[in-house]
């Protein structure tokens, strides 16, 4: 029996390549199949999308030798300030203030723009002898047998592996073809996202303002720029998004305030509806789902990426350990370990998000800050300052080795 690669990963975004690198380091041969041409992803100019990488995510990127290529382009998040603000008024005195000096691990996280991260992944994959990267190739069918899994590409080619990984987003065709159902709901809110240039230094501080029309998260980027995440009711958000750039900025300015001096738009504007979609199972016969294919939380500010990299760390650890034991990496018993490891984390996040959204109509300050600033996974409403900071840094829970910065 022959295999093109041990593992076939469908999806070439960020989680797919991260998993490919982790698995290839562990000795597996991996094929990454991306429906998009890589030039599209790599040559995209600055588009306003940034990721707030939790410290744990940054450690994983270090462990798979990607962080070194992007470290210079990142902005450390040194403080988080949560303020009860009101549109048209200056922000009120600090409501809550978290400083990275209170934990010994360093910054709470790093802001990094999408364009740099993807390019670094692409280069690392190209250099890795055990990774085959097929871009601009759509999977149209998949078939499982007792010893392997075969995918058929639109070009007619077939690829065979021991295990298939679906990393193809919240509408994962890989999950759908395997008959895995989803549940989810919409929060009736939409996030407006863009990058802003400003006059004064931001000092690495992330802000969360609470205002009656909706909260605003301001996340520091290098070179006197910030990425904003601005939540509104969906109808209002649509109206604002339809405005001209000047009118958009006129609505934003009173919300933003003048603490960073003059502000102007620095790139395209995006909207992301706040909704949630969870796969009923993260595994099937010779199949595992990671990232949004397993659990699509709102895609703003890298929350989804932080959660996805936890999947990457857990699945890589389960599979590399199974390989060393000589186990069949596609066996139910092996995949169950991954499902059990990740299910609790994800269900807790879903339950917390849902409970707070329904009971408190999304007004819980801490939860919102974690969500909008996007630094970590909410396991519960943290009781203490230090635990909040650790939560935001993604340092809580049963962490996979790669997220501790250790090799598997």
């Amino acid at each position: 029996m022959t295999y093109d690669s041990d593992i076939l990963i469908v999806g070439g975004g960020l989680n797919g390549p991260a998993l490919a690198l982790a698995l290839a380091d562990g000795g597996f041969t991996v094929t990454v199949i991306d429906a998009q041409p890589k030039q599209n992803r790599a040559t995209a100019g600055f588009d306003g999308r940034g990721y707030a990488l939790a410290l744990a995510s940054q450690r994983l990127l270090s462990a798979i030798s990607v962080w070194g290529h992007v470290a210079q382009k990142s902005q450390p998040i040194l403080e988080i300030k949560i303020t009860d603000g009101r549109a048209g008024e200056a922000p009120s005195p600090w409501m809550l203030h978290f400083d990275h000096a209170e934990i010994e691990e360093g910054p709470m996280g790093y802001m990094l723009e999408d364009r740099y991260l993807y390019t670094a992944f692409l280069e690392a994959m190209t250099e890795h002898p055990r990774i085959t990267h097929l871009d601009n190739e759509k999977v149209i069918a998949q078939d499982v047998s007792a010893s392997g899994t075969t995918v058929t590409l639109a070009s007619g080619t077939q690829k065979r592996g021991r295990l298939l990984v679906g990393s193809d987003g919240r509408r994962s065709s890989t999950a759908e073809r395997a008959g895995i159902g989803r549940r989810g709901w919409d929060y009736g809110q939409t996030a407006l996202v863009c990058a802003i240039k400003h006059e004064k230094a931001h000092h690495g501080i992330a802000h969360q303002f609470f205002m009656p029309p909706g909260p605003l998260a301001i996340l520091p980027l290098p070179d006197n720029r910030v990425s904003i995440v601005w939540s509104e009711e969906t109808k209002t958000a649509e109206k604002i998004q339809a405005m001209t750039d000047d009118a958009y900025m006129d609505v934003l300015r009173p919300r933003f305030g003048d603490f960073l001096g003059d502000i102007s738009l620095a790139g395209e504007r995006f909207t992301y509806p706040l909704n949630l979609t969870i796969a009923k199972s993260f595994t099937a016969n010779r199949l595992a789902l990671i990232g949004d294919a397993a659990h699509g939380v709102h895609p703003i500010a890298g929350q989804g990426l932080n959660l996805g990299l936890r999947d990457v760390g857990a699945l890589a650890e389960v599979l590399i350990e199974a390989r060393r034991r000589g186990e069949d990496i596609g066996a139910e018993g092996v995949l169950t370990r991954y499902e059990q490891w990740r299910r609790w984390d994800v269900e807790t996040l879903v339950a917390a998000t849902d409970t707070f959204n329904k009971l408190f109509s999304n007004d819980n300050g801490l939860l919102r800050a974690v969500r909008d600033i996007g630094l970590g996974v909410v396991n519960a409403l943290p009781g203490a300052r230090r635990s909040f900071i650790r939560e935001a840094a993604g340092l809580t829970g049963d962490l996979p080795k790669l997220l501790q910065g250790r090799q598997i």
């Binding site: 007792a146 010893s147 392997g148 034991r325 000589g326 186990e327 069949d328 018993g333």
Partner: protein
């Protein structure tokens, strides 16, 4: 006690063989009767693979770390250990006294794309065939054989000089009676009633003596401990009170 004639022929107890034949088809069902073995398998494999890698200076991250090693899996059952050894590159012979296990194991290996030499025979007949091995896996078998000493003597004869034997079994004390028989067979219903007979259990010191008498050198012993909170098995340096494993070499 088996008759002298039967012992001269082989060390298999016919009543034990019949018991396992009834279970054979269910070997590979992870939620079936052999669920406890599937649950324990990662922990057993951790011990086995690390011991072999250390003894023969192999790197488990290599593509086929056990290439060139000839491994005998005695009491191979459905192939729960034979298949991982073959996947790691070893040349594997799986031997089982229960005839029904062999087709089950063969079928599964074929489905998995693995080449394994499964034989319905006892250790003694392998000696007659002049077989020699680098590694003998003797896992959860010795508590089922009629004459443990004769069985280990046979293992010695099958091992090449410098070879490694891994032997696991169940300790004999009140705790192991509670855990392995009352717990596993009656309370949890993990194993069919009558799978184990407590008087056949062997203490680690007794096993070391049997191994030494068989002219092998015991080099290591560890416990396999079940944690009911994490619902998983782990290797323990100190707790050999119920399940335990030993490593010994042939000088």
């Amino acid at each position: 006690m088996p008759s002298a004639d039967a012992r001269a022929e082989n060390t298999i107890d016919p009543a034990e063989v019949a018991k396992f034949e009834a279970m054979a088809a269910e070997w590979w069902d992870t939620n079936g009767k052999f669920k406890p073995l599937h649950l324990m398998n990662p922990c057993r494999l951790d011990y086995i693979t690390r011991q072999i890698a250390a003894e023969f200076d192999r790197d488990l991250d290599d593509a086929a770390p056990f290439a060139g090693l000839r491994v005998l899996d005695i009491g191979c059952g459905g192939g729960l250990l034979s298949e991982p050894m073959a996947r790691l590159g070893a040349d594997v012979v799986g031997a089982d006294a229960a005839p029904a296990n062999i087709p089950v194991a063969r079928l599964h290996a074929e489905q998995s794309g693995l080449t394994i030499d499964y034989r319905n025979c006892a250790a003694e007949s392998l000696i007659d065939d002049g077989e020699q091995f680098d590694v003998i896996l003797n896992m959860e078998v010795i508590e089922h054989v009629a004459d443990p000493q004769a069985f280990l003597n046979a293992c010695n004869q099958l091992l090449k000089s410098g070879g490694l034997m891994l032997c696991s079994t169940i300790n004999r004390n009140p705790k192991s009676f509670m855990m392995a028989i009352v717990g596993a067979e009656y309370v949890m219903r993990w194993l069919p009633k009558g799978t184990h007979e407590w008087h056949k259990f062997i203490t680690p010191d007794e096993l070391f003596n049997l191994i030494k008498t068989a002219s092998l050198t015991p080099v290591d012993r560890k416990g396999f401990v079940f944690n009911p909170i994490s619902w998983a098995w782990s290797i323990s340096d100190r707790d050999l009170s119920v399940n335990y494993v030993t490593a010994s070499t042939k000088p």
